[in-house]
Structure formats: C-alpha cells, structure tokens
Amino acid sequence: MLGLQDIQVTLLAVVDQAGVIREVRPGPEGVPRDPRARSVYEAARRALLDPACSPLPVPRERLAAVNNFEFRFTPRGFIR
C-alpha cells in the first residue's frame, strides 16, 4: 500500500462559463488501484463535486477561455 508521501491523484474537471464544475473524470493515469490512493481519488472527486466548491474562484475572463481544469491532489499536507 502506498504511503501518503507517494500518493498523487489527478482529476479532470469540465467547468461551465459560470465556473460551476459540470463533470469530473479521472486523469491520464485512470482510477488508482491502490486502496489508499483510491480513497484519496474518491475524496477528491467528492470535493470537486461538492456544491460548496462551485463556482470556482476563477476570474470570469479566464473562464471564457478555459473550461478544462486538471486538479492534482496530494495528501502530503497531513505529514508533519
């Protein structure tokens, strides 16, 4: 099983013009198979889909040009 320092999960989020996340897909590596990394992936997916995270705090003019975001989550912040 991976340690916290080794885990990084990538998710792709499609955002509409208002900054609301409409779709979340796994990144190029797919859904992790390691149980711990998979739980991080699913927690990150829940965070992105949580209504509290929308709209994203991104300038409106930038949202007009960008509608795909790649989020890279790492739980290293837990390690002190």
Partner: protein, 283 residues
C-alpha cells in the same frame, strides 16, 4: 512518408492539419491546479435502517444500522446525518437510491441494505455503500451468519465502510480481553473478561477461583484462542500459563511469566522463572 501510398499520406496530413488547431486549443484551455494542503473533515454519511420484509427482519435492520452509526460516529471521522432529515424511506432507498434526495440533505455517502431472517436461525444481510455526488456504488456485499451474531455483522459492515472510504483497515470488529478486578485490596478477585470494542457482548471467561493475569490473544486465531496467566492464590508462587479455547483450557508444563503466542500462532513462548530468580525465554 511512403511514395507507394501517397493518398494515405495526404489524407493523414489533411486530418492532422484539421485537428492541429483543436488540439492546440485544448492544450491551451487546460489549467493545472495543485491541491497540496490536505485537511480532513468528518464525512457526512446517511445510514437509514436496513429494510426487511418481516417484523424481525425490520428490527434487526434497525439494530444493525444503529450499531453502524455508533461505530462510525465514535471514530470521529464520519458525521452520521440525523435521520429526521431523511427524505427517501429506507425501503425505497434499498430498492434504488434517489440521489438528489440524499444530496440535498448534505450526504456524501449513503448506506442502504436489506435483512432477511432465514430458516434455521440464519440471518442474511445485504448492504451497499454509495458515493452520493457522482452517484456511483462503491461497495456491495452480502453476509450470512447465525442470527445471534447480528452485532458482529454490523461491526464488519462498519469496517468495510471505514476501509472503503478512508483506505485504512477498520477496527470495529475487535474484541477486547481484560482482567476484571473486584473485591477488597487484600482479597482481590481477578477474572478474565472479554467484550466487543464498543463495550457490548461482555462476558466473563473465568469464575475468579484462580487469579487471572496478562491475557493475550492467539496471533492467528484470536476468535477462539486466548492465553491467560493463572495463579493459584494471591500469595502462591506457582504460576501457570493456560490457553483457553472456546470450551476448555490447556496447560503448559512449566512455571512461567508473560506468556505469548508466536507470530505464526503455532507456538507459545514464555519467560521461565525458577526459584533462583533468573529468567529464560522458552517455547
């Protein structure tokens, strides 16, 4: 480029030329965001009663859900949602969860299930764990056991939920062995006792006729083997190690202290303490 098949190359080039701006635009339109400051909040989880067709099944479904709620709340890592807020009924949720009803009350995870009392005193429990926001099933499992073991099934379900959502093994299906001490200081009665990790299913394994000390579970078969040091009297030196199985007890041939099972569970080890006072490790 192959001269023998120029039309293929031309088509490939034309296709590439047509796709190039789109690919470039897509690459430009992806922004990478690194999230490195992890923090943890309790996961809001909805655990309605497990559905059942009969009165007994409904009662067991209610009891199992109550144990799971208590386990997860006690861990501090989950926040079970007050069932007064539930919109969908347990029976309907067991059929097909209406995710918008659970999303609107703030649930991120949902547990549904069904209990069935079978002939011969058997209990079958099905449960499903759902990720509410992406509307996906994370786990679906069924257990069949003696109806008297309904509480252990609840602990196992709690472990599965814990492991599936946090990536770490759960600890709810755990029993604690300890020495109960009662009576005045000069005439203590020490009894070996065992209970579930939540304090339920408590029972005494010895009756207090001998002093029981330092209980140790068997490393491989903790469910039915337990080591206990027993002493004939409070002042008596002879100390014997006993292992207690489900129904009886065995005895080691030496006087010893701190008995333990080996990691593979095949042997028992102890420190031998003859009257001269020095110790040896024995197995």
């Amino acid at each position: 480029m192959s001269l023998a098949t120029p039309w293929v190359s031309r088509r490939t080039l034309l296709a590439a030329a047509a796709l190039a701006p789109a690919v470039a635009r897509a690459q430009q339109q992806t922004t990478v965001i690194d999230v490195t400051r992890a923090r943890t909040d309790p996961i809001p989880i909805a655990i309605p009663d497990l559905a059942g067709a009969t009165g007994d099944a409904q009662r067991l479904g209610r009891d199992i859900a109550r144990v799971v709620v208590n386990n997860l709340r006690g861990s501090g890592l989950f926040r079970p949602i007050d069932r007064q807020a539930y919109i969908q009924t347990p029976e309907a949720a067991a059929q097909t969860p209406r995710f918008q009803d659970w999303r609107v009350i703030g649930a991120q995870a949902l547990v549904t299930g069904r209990t069935e009392v079978q002939p011969g005193g058997r209990l079958r429990v099905e449960f499903r764990l759902w990720d509410v926001l992406p509307e996906t099933q994370l786990q679906g499992t069924a257990y069949t056991a003696d109806i008297n073991n309904w509480r252990q099934i609840a602990h196992v379900i709690s472990d599965v939920i814990y492991e599936r959502l946090l990536g770490e093994r759960g600890y709810f299906d755990t029993r604690i062995a300890y020495i109960s001490e009662t009576g005045p200081r000069d005439r203590r009665t020490r009894r070996l006792a065992i209970m579930d990790q939540d304090g339920e299913n408590h029972r005494f394994l010895t009756d207090g006729r001998f002093q029981a000390l330092t209980p140790r579970f068997h490393s491989q078969r903790p469910a039915d083997r337990l080591h206990v040091l027993r002493r004939r009297s409070a002042a008596g030196v002879p100390v014997r190690s006993r292992h207690r199985a489900a129904g009886g007890a065995g005895q080691l041939p030496w006087h010893d202290a701190l008995p333990r099972f080996s990691p593979d569970g095949r042997e028992r080890g102890a420190r031998r303490r003859p009257r001269r006072g020095y110790q040896h490790l024995h197995r």
